[in-house]
């Protein structure tokens, strides 16, 4: 009797161990039954080209001395020191699209010895310059911003004394550069004039009164691709 007991114990132990191993095998097989991982060999790629915008400002700036109020008709005829030419150029090396831009003016501080004129006292006038195809080297001017008081451009709500120039109806097409070809460069040339409005009362101005008005031009652009 005493010799039989260890055999019974061994049988029980082997049975339990066998069941345990079987269980582990079944569970193990179940967990690893099927897995699959796929990773692409080739990448999808999207790239953009370079886009640039330039503002070219003439070295010949407006420098009018001894300015007095003048009519719009006369102001529009100002020449030489009464004009300031600049050009906006855009270039897109990538997919053709439209580059839209705005032109704005920013009031600048007067020189130390001068007092800044009131915005209502100064008018600006903008034309676009095109080369006359019928006459070599002849430049044609087309009005794009009618004579406008600076106070109507830089208003009380304007930030940083900067206001956007509102182009005349029918002239806003100049503010869009249609890039139809890759790498195309497009330039639009402008001429700015400014004068003292003829409704300004200059009767109190004298030798000791020194008024001045200064402004700068800005261009800002954004992209609108061709659909």
């Amino acid at each position: 009797m005493f010799e039989e007991e260890p055999k019974e114990n061994h049988r029980a132990s082997f049975t339990i161990l066998g069941i345990f191993v079987l269980l582990l095998t079944v569970v193990g097989v179940a967990i690893a039954a099927y897995t699959w991982t796929y990773t692409s060999n080739n990448a999808n790629s999207i790239s953009t080209g370079n886009i640039s915008m330039s503002l070219l400002e003439s070295t010949d700036t407006i420098s009018i001395e001894n300015a007095l109020p003048m009519s719009d008709d006369k102001g529009k005829q100002l020449k030489n020191n009464g004009t300031f030419d600049f050009a906006v150029t855009t270039e897109a090396s990538g997919q053709p699209g439209d580059i839209n831009y705005k032109l704005s003016i920013t009031e600048d501080n007067a020189d130390s010895d001068y007092t800044l004129l009131n915005k209502e006292q100064v008018k600006v006038y903008l034309t676009v310059l095109t080369n006359n195809e019928d006459a070599e080297n002849e430049v044609l001017e087309t009005q794009v911003v009618k004579p406008t008081k600076v106070s109507d451009i830089i208003t009380e709500n304007s930030d940083n004394e900067t206001g956007v120039l509102t182009f005349d109806e029918g002239q806003t097409q100049h503010l869009t550069h249609h890039h139809n070809k890759i790498g195309e460069t497009i330039t639009t040339k402008y001429r700015l004039r400014m004068w003292i409005s003829d409704d300004v009362d200059a009767s109190n101005w004298n030798e000791s009164t020194k008024y001045q008005y200064k402004l700068k031009i800005n261009a800002s652009g954004s992209i609108d691709p061709i659909q």
Partner: protein
């Protein structure tokens, strides 16, 4: 009484003898019968594959969702096919992989690129097209929005940029499509003002054919100083990845 006892003992003895004989008879009987029916186990199989179409879109420009979705040649496709002999349910996660891995330091990032993601389970029935990860028929989502989305079934392989998690059984096909474009929020040209100018040149003509001020101005061009703002191009890339595993019935 003695006869009865003798009789009783005799009957008992006979019964015991009969039992003994029967027992002995059974003990000596043995038989072997082989069955004719075969029990067998043959294995089935499960095959998953992704037939891919990749795209390369160069020199593109920022655009709206509507324009990006309408664009052609900007669509990554994975036709996920399963073939099963036997019954199994497989759970899978499909995700973007190697996102911007090729040019991580340039100007085009996952914050600039949008995608529209959808899957087609029945090409004959457009109503079964399902748009994924917040995209719709008309809108996309920035790839950056997928970054924190991890897989459901294969969390080790698919830790982020999840496109979809689903189950697949039997022999079937699901088509995944990812359209990508550069968002128009990435406008290229900012204000040409002192604080945003990236390049400045003195003595420049508005027409590059002319190199001197005299030539330039006599041709009716503008001569002066140029300030230039440039947005350099960039490249963004991604791959597709799938992790799949069997789903046990008790899960």
């Amino acid at each position: 009484m003695d006869n009865k006892k003798v009789l009783t003992i005799s009957i008992v003895a006979v019964v015991v003898l009969v039992i003994a004989i029967i027992s002995t008879s059974y003990a000596t009987f043995s038989a072997q019968i082989s069955g004719e029916k075969e029990n067998k186990l043959t294995t089935g199989y499960v095959t998953l594959k992704c037939d891919e179409e990749v795209f390369t879109l160069n020199d593109t420009s920022p655009m709206t969702d509507e324009e990006g979705i309408a664009l052609e040649s900007n669509e990554a496709v994975c036709t996920l096919s399963s073939e099963m002999k036997g019954e199994m349910t497989v759970g899978y996660d499909i995700a973007l992989d190697d996102v911007d891995a090729e040019t991580p330091d340039d100007d085009l990032t996952e914050n600039d690129v949008k995608v529209q993601i959808y899957k087609i389970t029945n090409e004959q029935d457009p109503a079964q097209t399902k748009y994924l990860q917040g995209t719709s028929e008309n809108t996309g989502t920035y790839i950056a929005n997928l970054k924190e989305k991890s897989g459901t079934y294969d969390t080790e392989s698919v830790e982020n940029y999840l496109i979809d998690s689903d189950k697949i059984t039997g022999t079937t096909q699901v088509i995944y499509k990812v359209k990508a474009w550069v968002s128009n929020n990435k406008n290229g040209v900012e204000n040409i003002q002192t604080n945003s100018v990236t390049n400045s040149d003195d003595g420049v003509c508005s027409n590059s054919e002319y190199n001197t001020q005299a030539e330039c101005e006599s041709a009716g061009e503008v001569w002066g100083n140029s300030q230039k703002s440039t947005q350099t191009g960039g490249t963004f890339s991604f791959k597709l990845k799938i992790g799949a595993t069997q789903i046990l019935e008790d899960e």
